[in-house]
Amino acid sequence: MTLTEQAPSGTAPAPLRDGDLTSLLMIRHFEWKLLDLFAEGKLNGTTHTCLGQEYIPVSLNPLLSAGDFLFSNHRGHGHYLARFADPAGLLAEITGREGAVCGGVGGSQHIFRDTYLSTGIQGESLPVAAGAALHFKRAGLPHVAVVYIGDGTWGEGSVYEALNIARLWELPLLVVVENNGISQTTPGSVNMAGTIAGRARAFDVDHHRVTSNDVRHIRAELAPLIDRVRHQHMPLVVEFDTVRLGPHSKGDDTRPAREIEAARARDWYGALRAEDPERFDRLDQEQRQLIAGVAADVLARPLVAGETA
C-alpha cells in the first residue's frame, strides 16, 4: 500500500530546537569546508557532499536508537554527523590524519563505527541491511536496519532482491530514499521508468513520500511509521523529495543554471533563517567557526600511520 502523505498542520510549528539547527548547520558548514579544501588542493581523491539534504538525517536521528544499524552510502557525511556529531573524526578520515575514524583506509565513502557502516557500491547495502534486520528480529531486539539510498540506486537489481526478501520475511528494514532527481549527471527522467512508489507497491512494501524539508513536520509524519517497522517488523520505503545543491562530487555539475536555481529556492537554509534571523545567525556563526577550527586543527595533525601494509 502507499501511505498517503499527511498534510502539515495549519498551526505554526514550534520553533526548531537549538540542537537540530546546530546539527543542520554543522553538516552544511562541514560540506562547504570540504569544497573549499578541494579548491585549495588540500583534499585527495573525491567526495560527495550532501548540501541541501542535511535535514533528512537530522530529522531521522531522534527517531532511531543507538542500536539501530545505519547503512550509509557515498553521500554519507550528513548521515554520520547527524548521528555522531564528530566532524573532526570524519575530516581526519577524509584527509588521512591522526584521529581518523577508520584509520584513513576508508575515506569519505567507507566508514564503520558501532552500528553505522557506509560503503561506496550502489545498492550493495540493501541485502546486507536485510541480513541485519533478520538478526534483530530473530534475536528479539527492538532494532531497525536503516539503509540510505538515492533515486539512482533503483537501477540496481540488489534493491529488488532485498525488497522481496524483506517483505517475504517481514523484516524491520527502513529504506530511506534521498530522491534528489539526479544520478551524478543523469536526470531521473532519463533513467527511471515508472516511480519508486510503484516499485515498492510491486513488492507489497509500504511507501511514504515526504515533500517537506521541515524537520518538525517530517518527524511527526514518520514517527508512527518507523514505530511500525520496529515493532511490527514490516519494511518501509520512505522517499524524500529532495534537492542536491552541489555537484555530484567536485566540479561535475552539468545542470543548467535555472535548475540549480530552482534547487536553491527549495533550500532549508533561507527558510529557517527567516523564522528567527537572530538565533539562526548566531548558531550559523558558531558552526562556521567550529568547523573552521576543526579544519585548522585536523590539517595540522600528522598523517595517520598505515597499519594495513
Binding site: 557500491i121 550493495e124 541485502p127 541491511a129 536485510a130 541480513g131 541485519a132 538478526h135
Partner: protein, 337 residues
C-alpha cells in the same frame, strides 16, 4: 566415521555438527529445506533439526550473500550455499566488495565469519553454465580464503576451521565427489600410503609409495585427486614412474613452502586443475614453485587443466575438454622424460 561413507554424507554430517555446536551458524540458500535438502542433498535433515536457522531463499544469489553478510556483520556465522558454483558470479560484488573488504577497509580488523559453499566441476553432463570451476575468479582478493573439498580430509574439521576463521571463505566442492566414497584407511588406489602434512584444520594430504623415491610430484586439489591417483597408479604399474601426490585443502592463500622440499627432491612437478588455462590457480602455484624451487627444477612446472573451451553438454564432447586420468597420465609421462 561410517564405513563406506560417501563424501557428500560426510559433508552433510559436518554441517549437522557445526549447526549443533554453534547457535550462531545459519544455513542460507535456494531449495535447501527438507525433504529436498538442496540440489545435491548436502543440506538434508538440517531444516528439520534447525528450522529457525535454515533459510530458503528466492532465486537471488546476490541477496543470499547480502543477507549472509548482514548476519556476519551482526555477529553470526552464516554458511551460504550456491546451488551451482557457476551462479556465484551473481554474488561477486557481495563477496569481493563487501565480505572480503569489510575485514580490513574500515581501518581495523573486523572479523567476518562466512562460508560460501559452491558445487563445481563437470562430468555430470550439466553443460556450459552448470559445470564450471570458477576458483580462478576469486584468487588474490585480500582477506578472501579459498578451500576445496577432498576425499581425504574430514569435513567436520575443515568446516569448523572455515566457520571460525573470521575471514570469508569459499568452499569449492567438486560435485562428482559427493557420491564417491571417502577414503577409509588402507592404501589409496591399492598403492599409495596417505599421511597429512601441515597444520590442522587445513592440512595437505600426501599420497606416496612406500620406500620409493618419487620422480614426479603432482599437486592436485580435491576434485582432481581421484584422477591424479588413477593416472599415477597407471604410470607406476605400466612404466615404473613413481609419483607423489599432494592434495591441499586451502587453495588460496596457498603456501608452497610445504611442497618446496619434495619438489626440489623430485625436480619435476605437475599442477593439475579443472579450470581452463589463463590466470588460474595452477599458474599461481607454479609461480610460487618457481620462486622457491628454481634451482632444483629439472623441467618447467607442468600445468594440466581443461581445454580453452566452454564445457560442452554431450558426454563425448565434455570428455574431450575436461582433464581425464588418461590425459593427465600422458602429460605426466612427457614430464618424466
Amino acid at each position: 566415521m561410517k564405513r563406506n561413507e560417501r563424501v557428500g554424507e560426510n559433508l552433510n554430517q559436518a554441517l549437522h555438527r557445526v549447526m549443533e555446536s554453534h547457535e550462531d551458524v545459519y544455513l542460507i540458500g535456494e531449495d535447501v529445506l527438507d525433504p529436498y535438502g538442496g540440489a545435491f542433498n548436502i543440506t538434508k535433515g538440517l531444516s528439520d533439526r534447525f528450522a529457525d536457522r535454515v533459510l530458503t531463499t528466492p532465486i537471488s544469489e546476490n541477496a543470499i550473500l547480502g543477507v549472509a553478510n548482514g548476519l556476519a556483520l551482526t555477529g553470526n556465522k552464516p554458511i551460504a550455499e550456491m546451488m551451482f558454483g557457476d551462479f556465484i558470479t551473481l554474488a561477486f560484488d557481495q563477496i569481493v566488495n563487501f565480505s572480503a573488504k569489510s575485514v580490513s577497509m574500515y581501518g581495523a580488523t573486523h572479523p567476518m565469519h562466512l562460508v560460501v559453499r559452491c558445487p563445481v566441476g563437470g562430468r555430470r553432463g550439466y553443460g556450459p553454465t552448470h559445470s564450471q570451476s570458477p576458483q580462478k575468479h576469486f584468487l588474490g582478493v585480500p582477506d578472501l580464503h579459498l578451500f576445496e573439498l577432498s576425499p581425504f580430509h574430514d569435513n567436520a574439521t575443515v568446516l569448523e576451521g572455515m566457520v571460525e576463521l573470521g575471514k570469508p571463505c569459499i568452499f569449492f566442492e567438486d560435485k562428482v565427489l559427493y557420491t564417491e566414497r571417502r577414503h577409509q584407511g588402507g592404501p589409496v588406489g591399492d598403492l599409495f600410503s596417505l599421511e597429512f602434512t601441515g597444520e590442522d584444520p587445513f592440512p595437505v594430504a600426501r599420497l606416496f609409495i612406500e620406500d620409493t623415491a618419487p620422480e614426479l610430484v603432482i599437486v592436485a586439489p580435491g576434485g582432481l585427486a581421484q584422477r591424479a591417483v588413477d593416472a599415477a597408479r597407471e604410470l607406476f604399474l605400466q612404466h615404473e614412474i613413481a609419483c607423489e601426490i599432494y592434495v591441499p585443502s586451502a587453495l588460496y592463500p596457498f603456501d608452497a613452502q610445504l611442497l618446496a622440499e619434495p619438489v626440489a627432491r623430485a625436480g619435476r612437478v605437475c599442477v593439475v586443475e579443472d579450470a581452463p588455462p589463463g590466470g588460474s590457480w595452477g599458474a599461481e602455484v607454479a609461480h610460487q614453485l618457481y620462486s622457491t624451487c628454481w634451482d632444483s627444477l629439472r623441467a618447467p612446472v607442468r600445468l594440466v587443466h581443461s581445454a580453452d573451451s566452454v564445457i560442452p553438454t554431450a558426454l563425448h564432447l565434455e570428455r574431450d575438454v575436461l582433464v581425464s586420468s588418461e590425459s593427465l597420465e600422458l602429460a605426466l609421462k612427457e614430464l618424466a622424460q
